[in-house]
Amino acid sequence: MGFEHGTPTESISRRDLVRLSVGAVAASTLLPSLLSQKAFAQPAGQGKLQEVLNRKMLIVGTGSTNPPWHFEDEQGNLIGMDIDLARLVAKGLFEDPTKVQFVREAPDARIPNLVTNKIDVVFQFMTVTALRAQQVEFTIPYYREGVALLMLKASRYKDYNDLMSGGNRIRVSVLQNVGAEDFVHVALPRSQVLQLDSQATVIQALDSNRVDAAAVDQSTVRWLVVRFPDKYKDSGFGWYPQTYAAAVKPGDPVWLNYLNTVLHEAMTAVEFASYRDSFKKWFGITLKEPSVGFPVEYAYRF
């Protein structure tokens, strides 16, 4: 091809032009046929959305041991905020919130189950991280998680400010984790930190008066305060924000957009009542009705 004689363009000979012409004709002939073969494998509009509609059942990956997100009631049925949101998607798809098949999975199976098509979507308090976003696609957020300080209602300390004034007398339990001590010291710089090996013992240490506060997920604090209002209280301080969103297998913008639409409308418009009721049920907080008129998501904050 004689690159040494000049630029590639300059060196194109007549023979090359003939070859190019033949190639172009061949491509124009074969391409529709190739495209039609692809269309045969995945008919027009046959993305995940159509697949789910045809199946008449939504398959959702979730857990079963983490209240208030996904856990079992006394009859063994899955309940929780994640479950409510999954049912909302099913309601949008089939006008029937019961058309969901839940696949119980450990947190480390969330991404593998998605990418191997075992499930259509994950609703399992999945924290959005840049690393995970390279493997899955996240929907819009449906909750902003944080860490909060759970306290006993009978505690001699009233709230966060009171804990702060307790200085190094304050003891806080937290799950053993990377930098757990520094993490607690962001909220209570002089506190004594007790690192325990499970969330259950972190809360148990509070129950047994071994500590003055337990640093746990804010949603857990809200759930426990709703469930046991006479026993627990929230210190009123939250930190370390992280986003929860649903996740799908990458490469299907129609399906992702559909889920985003359902979640968006649930948090701002048509299905707001359902989202509000779930939020109240699991976190004990009544959300304000979105204002009518200018869309709330573009509204300025004054």
Binding site: Q176, N177, V178, G179, A180, L194, Q195, L196, D197, T201, Q204, A205, D207, S208, N209, R210
Partner: protein, 226 residues
């Protein structure tokens, strides 16, 4: 087909950087085991004499204690001492003393049986001889039964001490900063699981073996010739 190759690069420096947590934890574990063995031995001695006494009530009480403790996991006792006792108003024990108490009660049950077997192994002629030279019952226990019994049970006491030392690993469940707790801390903060557990396993092994060698010398020194 190429076989799947997993390359793992060791980073021992991560463990050396935090080695003070492991050394500190090792010495704390040894202290916990020694204190628990001492208290457990006192419980065990009392239990052994109660189990061999003429009182049916005492025998029944200590038999129940031994059976209860022998059939309950140590971790459960630790949780009970640390999380359960404050619920009934006993909260003056911190995590270290809660653990020592649980371990002492646990070892006390096993040592009751060890000492009982030791007392049972003393030839009756020794006790009869004590009586013959005019020793009171208490003097007989102090000058004849206890010295002979301790020599008989020394090998079992050594084993119990090594077991107790290894059991101190369970103290990590209530945040006592012993060796295993130190290892978990390094793991969760550096994710160097293989390096950390390798070093910790070696530390347990060397320490346990050193204790065994030392106690074997003591056993030889005080061996009973029968």
């Amino acid at each position: 087909m190429t076989a799947l190759q997993v390359r793992y690069y060791f980073h021992w420096d991560v463990v050396w950087r935090h080695i003070h947590r492991l050394y500190g934890g090792l010495f704390l574990g040894l202290e916990l085991a020694v204190v628990a063995l001492f208290i457990g031995s006192l419980i065990g001695l009392g239990g052994a004499f109660a189990r061999t006494s003429r009182s049916r009530v005492l025998r029944a009480v200590f038999a129940a204690y031994v059976e209860f403790i022998r059939n309950v996991p140590l971790l459960l006792l630790i949780y009970f001492a640390y999380f359960g006792l404050p619920k009934v108003g006993i909260s003056f024990l911190n995590n270290v003393s809660s653990f020592v108490m649980a371990l002492a009660i646990y070892s006390g049950a096993f040592l009751t049986e060890v000492f009982r077997a030791g007392i049972g192994s003393i030839p009756t002629g020794y006790i009869e001889a004590g009586k013959a030279i005019g020793l009171t019952r208490l003097q007989n226990v102090r000058h004849v039964v206890l010295p002979v019994m301790f020599r008989i049970v020394l090998p079992s006491l050594s084993n119990t001490f090594i077991s107790l030392f290894k059991d101190t690993a369970l103290a990590s469940a209530i945040a006592v900063p012993e060796l295993t707790y130190g290892a978990v801390w390094i793991n969760v903060n550096t994710f160097r699981v293989v390096e950390t557990w390798t070093v910790v396993a070696a530390m347990y092994l060397v320490t346990g073996y050193a204790i065994a060698l030392g106690l074997r010398r003591v056993e030889r020194r005080y061996a009973v010739i029968r």
